[in-house]
Subunit: 333 residues, 2 copies
């Protein structure tokens, strides 16, 4: 049988509420009693019931992280820092996945008695934020934002990174460039494309629509799209990729096509995932404090939960160009 606060109370010779108070270190309980209660709890191996606490207090100290794609390397790198940060704040992380067509995700989130949600794969046209707002479930945007509802958010400003990357690319002689961008219904793909185009215009480099593809942020998708672009007679000498995972796909495509990187093709990613720094990959990319952003998202949702009237906060992370092997001089051909 499971040990309850009643059992502890009996052993310590106090009432059940006193146990509850003592173990949560309530100031109104005398030190002597606290000691007795703690000893009794220890002795019995008492562990407070999460369900009882949740029902009584109305809070679960559980936070959902909503993703579409658990297989994606990008999200793997998010989960760990979010998890750690929430743990230090005394909260638990719960993963949730939504498929694009599934309209019941908000119900599923609500059903789980979450205190709040971190939205990591919001599309600009998603109604989930609206629903969450209706239901009064606090949430924050991570990386991507939705269009319909304002909320606390962490975002990356891609402009500085792209400005420097494009400047450098031009120096290296790249004039015929292509791009495998992310899905156009994501705020990240939109802001990155805008920043990229602005930087290209500033440097006088054209990016014809024929050399642009837009695909989901996956390695396989990146590979397929890159393969198309690389098969063109006027194939680009440099491929801007929507993120690192797509860039991995592009590297694979180049490899399959018998092109050497960076001799025949330069590739630029976005995110600076840990693997991008590996010698065997050595991907030039645009980086930012990805773990810090994950931590900030955790901080923001907790703050929102504990102070619902706090002012809206949109934390902006600067991006920076990270030069590596895969961006080198355009071959004079």
């Amino acid at each position: 049988m499971v040990v309850t606060s009643r059992d502890v109370a009996r052993l310590a010779g106090v009432s059940q509420p006193t146990v509850s108070r003592a173990l949560r270190d309530d100031a109104r309980v005398s030190e002597a009693t606290k000691v007795r209660v703690r000893e009794a709890a220890q002795l019995l191996g008492y562990v407070p019931s999460e369900a009882g606490r949740a029902l009584s207090s109305g809070r679960t100290r559980r936070i959902g992280l909503l993703l579409t794609d658990l297989d994606n390397q990008f999200y793997s790198h998010i989960i760990a820092p979010v998890h750690r940060e929430l743990e230090t704040l005394g909260y638990q992380l719960m993963l949730h996945t939504e498929s694009a067509d599934n309209d019941t995700i908000v119900e599923r989130l609500l059903a789980n008695g979450l205190d709040g949600v971190i939205l990591a794969t919001t599309t600009v046209d998603s109604v989930a934020p609206l629903r969450l707002k209706d239901r009064g479930l606090p949430f924050v945007y991570f990386n991507r934002t939705g269009s319909f509802v304002e909320a606390d958010a962490t975002v990356v400003d891609p402009a500085p990174g792209y400005r420097e990357a494009v400047r450098r690319a031009v120096e290296l002689g790249h004039a015929r460039v292509g791009a495998v961008l992310g899905p156009s219904n994501t705020s990240t793909a939109q802001s990155r494309e805008a920043a990229l185009r602005e930087a290209l215009v500033a440097e006088g480099v054209a990016l014809p629509e024929s050399h642009v593809r837009r695909v989901p942020y996956g390695a396989a998708e990146g590979e397929a799209a890159a393969s198309e672009l690389l098969a063109r007679p006027d194939r680009p000498t440099l491929l801007f990729c929507g993120n690192d995972v797509v860039a991995y796909g592009a590297l694979n495509a180049a490899h399959r096509a018998g092109l050497r990187v960076p001799h025949d093709l330069s590739v630029l990613g976005f995110d600076d995932l840990p693997e991008a720094a590996w010698p065997i990959i050595d991907l030039a990319t645009i980086g930012y404090d990805i773990a810090g952003m994950a931590r900030t998202a955790a901080d923001l949702i907790v703050r929102r939960i504990e102070d619902p009237s706090a002012e809206l906060e949109k934390t902006r992370f600067e991006s920076v160009f990270v030069p590596r092997r895969t961006l080198a001089a355009a071959r004079a051909d």
Copy 2:
């Protein structure tokens, strides 16, 4: 305010228990009533409270996945299939991390009202399984097993894979081999080392202790250990790695040391993670049905929960050698 089953009951003109029964499709409720209740619930946007249900039923339909290292690529590839499988079984996944020194993990698991736990990073000397058994919290071993307690388990038999890999390596002329194995307090490292040594003996290849390192299953650790071995004057022509992640590290080490793979060095991994098949990595390895194993672990824990008296089941997955670029002929030097 949150909608409760009482509100639904009022609207549908029935009692609260009838709502509870109707929504869970209890056979004793008439079809007409069910329809009325469902409509009322729909109208009010009723979502059953997880906490109330948990308190009343004593079950949460929540299962923990215990890991040490969320950053590790191996575990990233586990999470998705486990999550999916549990979802189809009507359970929720909850991630938990333990640090090696932390002795309170079992308390933390209990405190979260889990119905069961999947242990994915058990060391052979871990007492966690003992504690879990004491507390009556069902659990299964995933991949690794502990020594003190029997439980449902999914494991890999590395012997077939290593037999074939070593046979092939010998054909390719490798005679001076090294190994970067996993930590010796894991059942996987133990069984893989045994299988590897047996295969080597069968083929008459020596594996001197000077050419063996044992490190945690991480890329950085693999890189450091491989660097040591590659710096030796009698450096091996083939490196057996404890798993793919360690092998990635070894590839990085080779790259940094200016050695070309496979011309100067062959590398063999274990697990056949999706990235291993990427053209830019193309890692020879020993594979098995890793997603199937994850699904099976999920199935086993659910079965154990729903039928505590079920017979112990240890599911064994066969391994198979996966030839790829990184294992090629030893250079005659």
